[in-house]
Assembly symmetry: C2
Homo-oligomer: 342 residues x 2
């Protein structure tokens, strides 16, 4: 085993706790929220592992988090970044089995946007050799969210609605829905995305900027009867879509791209049509889903990446040392994920 350095380069949070306002997963300048530091390499405690980074992904939740809009408080001076892949280079008691393995991980002790990250052993998934580092870096948050949410949709009916469907997650969910024999209805902002989403598996694609999009949706809904609305936008149009859905419909919020506070114009539908409004959070799902169900889902995700059914579209590879200067610009490209490299 090579000797580990005493210190590492890391991109860390500038603020503690939560913000008072929420303006969504966009930033003008990364330097408003993040700074570059040299800090001690963390030491794994019981059941923890230290991972030398190969690649980290940038998810909307990372941006919500550094802005203080996420469901966990920030810690000033701690590395940012939830998800990545890398090699386990040190382990605490109970985690020895992972030593030397290449793993996908969600950071729980010290973030992924650093030369070394720290997490619990159970937040690591050993990677099959066929899976690239880019795919490994985006193996957990989006794919597991997609699997878990489409599972919810499947348990409720034969069709479901996906907003912001051009996102990586949106495309994953449409494809997965089709593979499971469901009929996904995709909502997109631009007419140019219609064919793309159809090729990814959407049975219907509606353009949210069309003046009569609600009427179009009501027609599609009458035929396909979607029971679950997987919504990352949560604006007034979302509410109208929800109101046009049939009895028993569930509006499942998993993101908040819009800063609008939607009005509930038809509360009677909750009473008389057994509709409901709820949220989805992968962290909660991981805490409340039995390990054997999680393992099944994880194995299915790896199989899909290994045989090429799924792959991560990368828009930019951004070195760690360019995050503060370059992340805001890199995120403006909408054709794939920003992947951070050491």
């Amino acid at each position: 085993m090579t000797e580990l350095p005493k210190t590492m380069f890391a991109v860390v949070q500038k603020f503690d706790g939560y913000a008072k306002t929420a303006t969504g997963p966009v930033i003008e300048q990364a330097s408003d929220w993040l700074e570059e530091v040299e800090i001690p390499v963390p030491v794994p405690g019981p059941d923890q592992v230290l991972i030398r980074l190969r690649a980290a992904s940038v998810n909307p939740s990372d941006i919500h988090f550094i802005k203080g809009e996420y469901g966990q408080p920030r810690i000033k001076g701690a590395p940012a970044g939830f998800e990545g892949c890398g090699d386990v280079v040190a382990t605490g008691t109970g985690a020895e089995a992972l030593m030397g393995q290449r793993v996908a991980f969600v950071a729980s002790g010290s973030g992924a946007w650093a030369e070394y990250a720290l997490t619990q052993a159970q937040m690591c998934i050993p990677l099959r050799p066929e899976i690239s580092d880019d795919d490994g870096a985006a193996q957990i948050v989006n794919p597991l969210t997609a699997m878990a949410m489409v599972d919810i949709a499947k348990s409720a009916g034969e069709s479901f609605v996906v907003s912001a469907a051009t996102s990586q997650l949106g495309k994953l969910m449409c494809g997965l829905g089709r593979d499971l024999g469901l009929k996904p209805i995709a909502m997109v902002r631009r007419a140019e995305a219609v064919e793309l989403l159809k090729s990814h598996g959407a049975a219907e694609v509606l353009v949210t900027t069309d003046g009569d999009v609600v009427e179009q949706f009501a027609q599609a809904s009458a035929t396909l009867k979607p029971r679950v609305f997987l919504d990352a936008v949560c604006d007034q149009l979302s509410e109208q879509i929800f109101c046009a859905m049939p009895n028993g419909a569930r509006w499942v919020s998993y993101g908040k791209l819009s800063t609008e506070a939607p009005r509930l114009t038809q509360m009677g539908q909750l009473i008389f049509m057994s509709k409901r409004i709820e949220g989805f959070w992968l962290t909660q799902w991981m805490m409340s889903t039995p390990p054997e169900d999680q393992m099944r889902v994880v194995a299915e995700v790896q199989a899909r990446f290994a045989d090429g059914r799924w792959k991560t579209d990368v828009s930019t590879h951004l070195p760690l040392r360019n995050i503060v200067s370059g992340l805001a610009d890199a995120l403006k490209k909408s054709d794939g994920k920003v992947i951070i490299t050491p």
Copy 2:
């Protein structure tokens, strides 16, 4: 058996279907919605019974219904009124066992605001002799709703919130909550109602017109940790109350006294705090709850009325022939239920 008349006096709906707007369970004049007619006495079909009315109650749902704001469409010319008590005077095939019995009922074939009502045998509850006609006329809708909703609250935690708590249903739920060892938090509009609600079982009573009611609630919530909000109002204050509740809170709408369309200002709470928004409808509960559970609840309701723990506060006895002229005025008294007599 006495010969039945061919026709009967009835108060019937003037309109079909649903209204396009919802203005809540208040009326200026009953004649806007109802008229007096002499119509044929209905004949029970298979599993149906004909009931000679002793007393009928007036619930908020009746007013929503005649205005076309309820979850079932109106039928022009059909008698109004959901709930009452009376004597079974004719039965269809399969319902013979109820012949001659005094029953509480929910009308399903022909409404309760008439000399005779028609319903399914399974919508009838034979009444113990100790129970008065007034109590019999309000034996199902409010008491079963209270039992079912407090059951939901009990399954979720040790405290719950009730809005519009001075209603009959509000008082039932506070008392029932206390009896089950729970700590009800009652929301009332007028400070004069605070002591009344405490005597009915509320652990805390908050006055919605207080400028700092949300802060007061947040304090009570931090101590009592209510997980369920049983809400008949559903305005913006309701949303603020919901936002001040702890992790896992459920906002259960069962009425819409306010015409406001509340904004969802903290959708992130649905995601990160596992909160959700849903509805409760007794009809749905009766269709989806196993008969043995319903029987247990019905028996408990009768026991409470029979031994005097529960009674129906009556503000006015209103004869059937005075409904059209007198219902709007009778409903202005807020100290109890309007009971209709033949």
